[in-house]
């Protein structure tokens, strides 16, 4: 039920994001979703890709600091209140959400949202009990 997200440490200087995307392009890696968290001096690039292991390897070889982090991908009905329902389920169990970002593409009629949560196993159980649809890694990498 977990999805492997690739995180890359990037200094805030011009051309670094381009270096990452070029490395991925050259290795035929497709980015499914991404988000950047930034501070004054550096940023964290988070990626969902079609092949996390290969991505980690090629970026590491290219000299980047890379780590894999387990995250959850949830299919959420694309209508008002869709996300609110998921957040409510987690909040009831006091599971903190570290960050969230959305896929650009859809899974059928549903939106796909990436969740990084504390206590990921509790979160999976709680969400499943609450009727949320969690996508597997395979499903996500091939969207």
């Amino acid at each position: 039920m977990r999805v492997n997200q690739i995180s890359v440490f990037l200094e805030n200087k011009s051309g670094r994001l381009a270096d990452v995307t070029r490395t991925l392009a050259e290795n035929g890696i497709n980015i499914r979703a991404l988000c950047i968290a930034d501070t004054i001096d550096y940023g964290l690039l988070r990626l969902i890709v079609n092949d996390p292991d290969k991505t980690r390897e090629v970026l590491h070889k290219a000299g980047f600091t890379v780590t894999q982090t387990p995250v959850l991908a949830l299919e959420i009905p694309d209508r008002p209140g869709g996300l609110a329902e998921i957040i409510r389920i987690l909040a009831e169990k006091e599971i903190n959400v570290e960050y969230i970002y959305a896929f650009v593409g859809k899974s059928g009629e549903n939106a796909v949202v990436i969740f990084r949560v504390e206590r990921i196993d509790d979160a999976i159980q709680t969400l499943q009990q609450g009727g949320a649809k969690i996508l597997s890694g395979e499903q996500v990498y091939s969207i």
């Binding site: 990037l10 001096d41 988070r46 980047f64």
Partner: protein, 435 residues
């Protein structure tokens, strides 16, 4: 004006006799009371009786900073602790501080040296001396304090920092002389201008700046901003603290307090003396110290010694500004920093050999700033900003407590810091130090 004309303008031949006589006493005292010195002399095959004149000094072995580390804390002392009345410290190359002790007489000699230093700027008993060096284990504050008191001047023991209050005191109490680091001098000048105060209208007349490398252009800047004469002073904790060398108003080199601290300049590679006027490592031997006699202490400071008498009439040898170091020690806001100290902290924090770079800068109107760039390795990389921030904070707290100065940590990508063959370049010093 001299504080002690007899000593400062002594005939050279007479001075050398005095130095020889004091050297003999110092060597005997060190040999008999400090096992490290006994061993060094024995190993070198030199007996205290072999030392007759000051020229015999070259027979003696050198003392280095590591001797302090190996004898931490009090092993270099030549008197029992009940005769020691004061301790000061400076940074060691690793975890341990360099500890120095003073007897009552040593404090007296130091005050005398600082009185001469202040006399170099014509300070007398009518003066109001604002001491803005830090008070505490650092020698700057108390060193300047005792010298000014010996002269009979009015001392304002401000210690460092709190710029607003420094300026208020300077104005309200009418300070005529200032003692602080050169970078703090610049900062005070900027702050005075910003407050809309006319420095020329203040009674401040002269400043004594040391504990930090600085340049002629900084001198001009301080003199313009504070409307004073800015004089360079030299000293190091191991020898006594400030007072080892001082400029007069000719601003033509640092007069060495030679009847107490004997200077030599050597080739750092061979240990051989270099001819007068040539650049080399400065070595000091204390001639009158009781608690901590120092024999041929290698300062690691690079300078040139000038034997010509000064236009002011003083006959003692003059040293140029410190032109560089033979090791990688940095002096930041008066604090000695060794890259090895930083490395040890990073090693502890990261659990692996760290890749880091120390960047020191002196921006206009600011005190010296130190940034430590640390490469983020996969081992310490966190996917969350709060994780990286906590790493940054942890390293910063550890470093600040080890070094005793504030600094900034910047996380950088791997391979950002150039790997050179052999010894890595660990320091980028962007300050204009006139070197």
């Amino acid at each position: 004006m001299y504080w002690n004309k007899e000593a400062e303008c002594m005939d050279r031949a007479q001075l050398r006799d005095l130095q020889g006589q004091r050297l003999r006493q110092t060597v005997r005292h060190a040999y008999e009371n400090v096992p490290t010195y006994k061993k060094k002399l024995d190993d070198a095959g030199v007996a205290p009786d072999d030392i007759r004149t000051i020229d015999d000094i070259t027979k003696l072995p050198f003392t280095v900073k590591d001797d302090f580390r190996e004898n931490y804390p009090f092993g270099m002392f030549a008197v029992p602790l009940d005769q020691v009345v004061r301790i000061h410290t400076s940074s060691g190359t690793t975890g341990k501080q360099t500890v120095v002790g003073y007897t009552r007489n040593d404090i007296g000699v130091w005050a005398e040296a600082m009185a001469r230093t202040l006399g170099g700027g014509c300070t007398h008993k009518d003066d109001i001396v604002q001491v803005a060096y830090g008070y505490g284990l650092f020698t700057g504050g108390l060193g300047a304090h005792y010298g000014a008191e010996k002269i009979g001047a009015l001392v304002i023991p401000m210690s460092g920092g709190n710029t607003k209050r420094q300026i208020q005191v300077m104005q309200d109490f009418g300070s005529t002389a200032l003692c602080c680091t050169p970078s703090y001098g610049v900062l005070l000048g900027e702050a005075i201008a910003e407050a809309g105060i006319d420095a020329k209208a203040m009674p401040l007349r002269v400043g004594f700046f040391g504990a930090e490398p600085w340049s002629e252009s900084m001198r001009k800047e301080i003199e313009a901003k504070l409307a004073i004469d800015a004089l360079d002073i030299y000293g190091l904790t191991e020898v006594t603290g400030p007072g080892v060398g001082y400029e007069c108003l000719e601003k033509a080199g640092l007069h060495i307090t030679e009847d107490h601290f004997y200077p030599e300049v050597i080739n750092p590679a061979t240990g051989e003396p270099v001819p007068p006027g040539e650049r080399g490592e400065v070595v000091f031997t204390t001639l009158t110290k009781e608690a901590l006699p120092l024999i041929r202490y290698r300062t690691r400071d690079i300078a040139v010694m000038n034997d010509e008498p000064c236009a002011c009439g003083r006959t003692c040898r003059r040293m140029t500004r410190v032109l560089g170091r033979t090791d990688d020690m940095l002096i930041i806001r008066g604090v000695n920093v060794f890259p090895s100290q930083i490395e040890a902290v990073l090693m502890e924090a990261e659990g692996t050999e760290p890749h880091y770079l120390i960047v020191v800068d002196r921006r206009p109107g600011k005190m010296d700033e130190m940034e430590v760039w640390v490469e983020v390795s996969s081992e310490v990389f966190s996917d969350e900003v709060k994780g990286l921030e906590s790493l940054q904070r942890k390293i910063m707290t550890e470093l600040e407590s080890t070094l005793g100065i504030s600094l900034k940590i910047r996380l950088v990508e791997p391979k950002t810091i150039a790997r050179s063959e052999g010894k890595a370049k660990r320091v980028v010093d962007r300050r204009d130090l006139g070197q």
